[in-house]
């Protein structure tokens, strides 16, 4: 039997398209969303796969120093050949540089007085920034979903305690606490955990700290959504069939909250990229020489503890433009993807 008789004529048999299928169909028609997703995939590929590949191709790493990579105090520009040496061979600043040209500073030139390869640093820095941003957003969603669900589902004293806890974390000046913990020995000790070299130093610490102070937002969203879902008929129906609490939460409640969390997570990644750069600028995040988009900005403009300020003699636009552009494109793509997801996942949307 291929069809059954519906009110408006025959309808296809079998399962109707699920919410995710419908959302996927809508997403495929959204050009902005597809473009954002494409850009993000490119960026992730470039940062995680492309960075080591590029380093192999040009024959030096992101932290290698090239003191000759500057001309008249400014870092060299695009596509320059520089002497492949990490030491200055003569103390006389007017002495000609060694004539043996060994390496190419690929595409973006040097990063300032130390002359590191800016292009490689943007790629490797993206790896660190993305790890921090995605990791922290994931952690926040995880904590927020668990606490929000527990608060709304069980209610009563549990709800009061968790809600006041949410209020408390909300009242914390997040940035000041990030900086406070970042400057301490606790932060330094956390920075040493790299999961056997899986992450760069400092990444895990930032993930934990940012996640621990931003979970209240998804927790509030989940709590209010589950509170309204809790009294709906389908939950009562599930209860009447004898379903247990874990089953109802997993099978009937969380699937309704997942789209909202996905949207929040996508926008949170954008916010976290900004936060990483900000905290590093304030001197408490990733430490130089580890490359991240924040440390790239900080090595040009200095940190709070060590401000560089504007100096027309050494000023060059590239070391600012490169990380700024990288942050801009990534944040833009994550924000746009989040907005598009919000539109396609909304069951009330007419399209």
């Amino acid at each position: 039997m291929a069809t059954v008789e519906g009110i408006a004529g025959p309808v296809p048999a079998g399962r109707p398209a699920g919410a995710w299928t419908i959302a996927w169909r809508r997403l495929r028609r959204d050009k902005v969303a597809l473009a954002s997703a494409g850009v993000l995939i490119l960026i992730i590929l470039a940062c995680f796969g492309g960075a080591p590949l590029a380093a192999k191709l040009v024959g030096h790493g992101p932290d290698d120093l090239f003191p000759y990579a500057q001309s008249s105090l400014k870092p060299v520009g695009l596509w320059s050949h520089v002497p492949d040496t990490s030491i200055t061979e003569s103390l006389d600043p007017l002495a000609p540089p060694p004539t043996k040209y060994g390496t190419t500073l690929f595409v973006l030139g040097g990063d300032g007085p130390l002359g590191r390869d800016e292009f490689l640093r943007v790629l490797y820095g993206g790896r660190v920034s993305l790890e921090v941003a995605i990791g922290a957003a994931f952690l926040a969603v995880l904590i927020g979903a668990v606490l929000g669900t527990v608060a709304a589902y069980f209610g009563g004293v549990v709800d009061s305690v968790i809600s006041r806890f949410i209020d408390l974390v909300m009242a914390f000046p997040l940035l000041l606490f990030l900086v406070m913990v970042g400057y301490t020995t606790v932060g330094n000790r956390l920075s040493r955990y790299t999961l056997h070299g899986l992450f760069s130093p400092g990444v895990l610490a930032l993930i934990v700290i940012i996640g621990a102070f931003t979970w209240f937002y998804p927790a509030r969203i989940v709590r209010s959504e589950i509170l309204s879902l809790r009294r709906r008929e389908f939950v009562t129906a599930a209860e009447s069939t004898g379903a247990g609490d874990p089953w109802i939460i997993r099978k009937h409640l969380l699937p309704h909250v997942a789209p909202t969390l996905l949207v929040w997570g996508s926008i949170a990644v954008a916010t976290n990229i900004m936060l990483e750069a900000g905290v590093t600028f304030l001197g408490a995040g990733i430490k130089i020489p580890t490359a991240s988009w924040g440390t790239l900005l900080a090595s040009t403009w200095g940190t709070v503890a060590n401000p560089t300020g504007y100096n027309p003699a050494t000023f060059s636009a590239w070391p600012t433009l490169a990380p700024t552009g990288a942050i801009f494109i990534t944040v833009l793509a994550f924000n746009q993807l989040g907005e598009s997801l919000r539109a396609v996942l909304d069951p009330q949307a007419i399209r």
Binding site: A171, F172, P173, A270, L282, I327, F328
Partner: protein
């Protein structure tokens, strides 16, 4: 329309408990971190244990944590936040003298307050008209341009905006001072600018305003972009409603429909968003103060945290308390304003309010 007094009282009580917990947690974090506060007075590397003990006694950190905390609460309740650890010196009677934290924090809070106030005025002045212009001609080039500008605004880091404005407007074109702060009232005092090579003397309203223009713009740009998008979307929602069709049908001009019928309906959501963004605003203020060397709360705390001698507890706890109190109070205020302007919100029935998780 009205605010239930019981509800207000309950919210205020909860706020006080929250502030109290905030102070406990700050103390706990401070004492969980191993450090040597004696470094503020002496060099602990070359000091005898007796000297360190004397320094601890003078700083008041020799007593148990609970005693110190009790003393802090007792003094704070009397409006006294103690003396900062840094900048202590001995006077002629060989007594310790230092800066009172309360006065210092109030001075810094005034700077941050001016920054935020000017920024909010800019946000309201620009975000709402831009949103109305965009919403009145959906899909036009004006709408698309405004949306693109807003997208750039929320995707560029405030630090970068600040640094770029400072470099070009301040340092290259010399339109405004590149940084520093001038008091609004004093007729003359030295500019606060650690980067300045020649200390200038300035003060008064025009000097104050010229130093604040760039910080205000930097602070506001991010929020203008954010709020323009939100108000635009909300306006588009509202413009589809039946009562708008009714207003148009009776012949009201489009500008009046937008201003008198649609705009008021976006205000409750605007207030809710503002309440939730106060934390973000504090963060942006810290960036702005850092870039332009404004002596506000952000810089004060950063100085207290990253000092060579360690954490300056009296300053940190005072700032955390004042910022926490501001966030809690402004959130409460947002909820109260919301209850007044939005007649669908009921605060008189605390039982129901609790079931839906407070007012919002």
């Amino acid at each position: 329309m009205t605010i239930g007094w019981r509800y207000l009282l309950r919210r205020i009580l909860v706020s006080i408990v929250l502030l109290w917990l905030l102070s406990i947690i700050t103390f706990a974090i401070y004492f969980a971190i191993p450090q040597e506060p004696a470094a503020f007075l002496i060099d602990p590397q070359h000091a005898t244990p007796a000297m360190i003990e004397k320094a601890h006694k003078q700083l008041g950190v020799d007593k148990p944590v609970t005693t110190q905390y009790g003393k802090f609460v007792w003094r704070a309740l009397h409006g006294d936040f103690g003396v900062a650890f840094s900048g202590l010196s001995y006077n002629a009677q060989s007594e310790l003298e230092g800066t009172a934290v309360g006065a210092e924090v109030i001075r810094a809070a005034a700077v941050t307050g001016w920054l935020a106030l000017g920024g909010i005025v800019l946000v309201i002045l620009f975000a709402i008209p831009a949103a109305m212009a965009a919403a009145s001609r959906v899909g036009s080039w004006l709408d698309k341009t405004l949306l693109a500008v807003a997208l750039i605004g929320i995707s560029t880091h405030p630090i970068v905006i600040g640094v770029v404005l400072q470099t070009f407007v301040g340092n290259r074109w010399h339109v405004t001072p590149p940084g520093g702060y001038c008091p609004i009232l004093d007729s003359a005092s030295a500019v606060f600018d650690p980067l300045a090579t020649h200390p200038e003397v300035c003060g008064g309203f025009s000097d104050w305003a010229s130093h604040m223009i760039l910080p205000w713009i930097t602070f506001a740009l991010f929020f203008i972009a954010l709020y323009m998008r939100i108000v635009r979307v909300r306006l588009l929602d509202v413009l589809g409603a039946d009562y708008i069709r009714a207003a148009r049908a009776k012949g009201a001009p489009e500008s009046r429909v937008l201003r008198r019928h649609a705009l008021p309906n976006t205000i409750p959501q605007l207030i809710t968003m503002m309440g939730m963004d106060i934390g973000t605003a504090v963060g942006v203020a810290v960036y702005v103060e850092t870039v332009y060397s404004l002596p506000g709360l952000g810089r004060l705390t950063l100085g207290a945290i990253r000092g060579d001698a360690g954490f300056d507890l009296p300053i940190i706890i005072a700032v955390v308390m004042i910022v926490g109190a501001a966030i809690i109070f402004l959130n409460l205020l947002a909820d109260m304003v919301l209850a007044v302007v939005d007649p669908t919100i009921e605060t008189r029935a605390p039982r129901r309010a609790q079931a839906t998780g407070g007012v919002v």
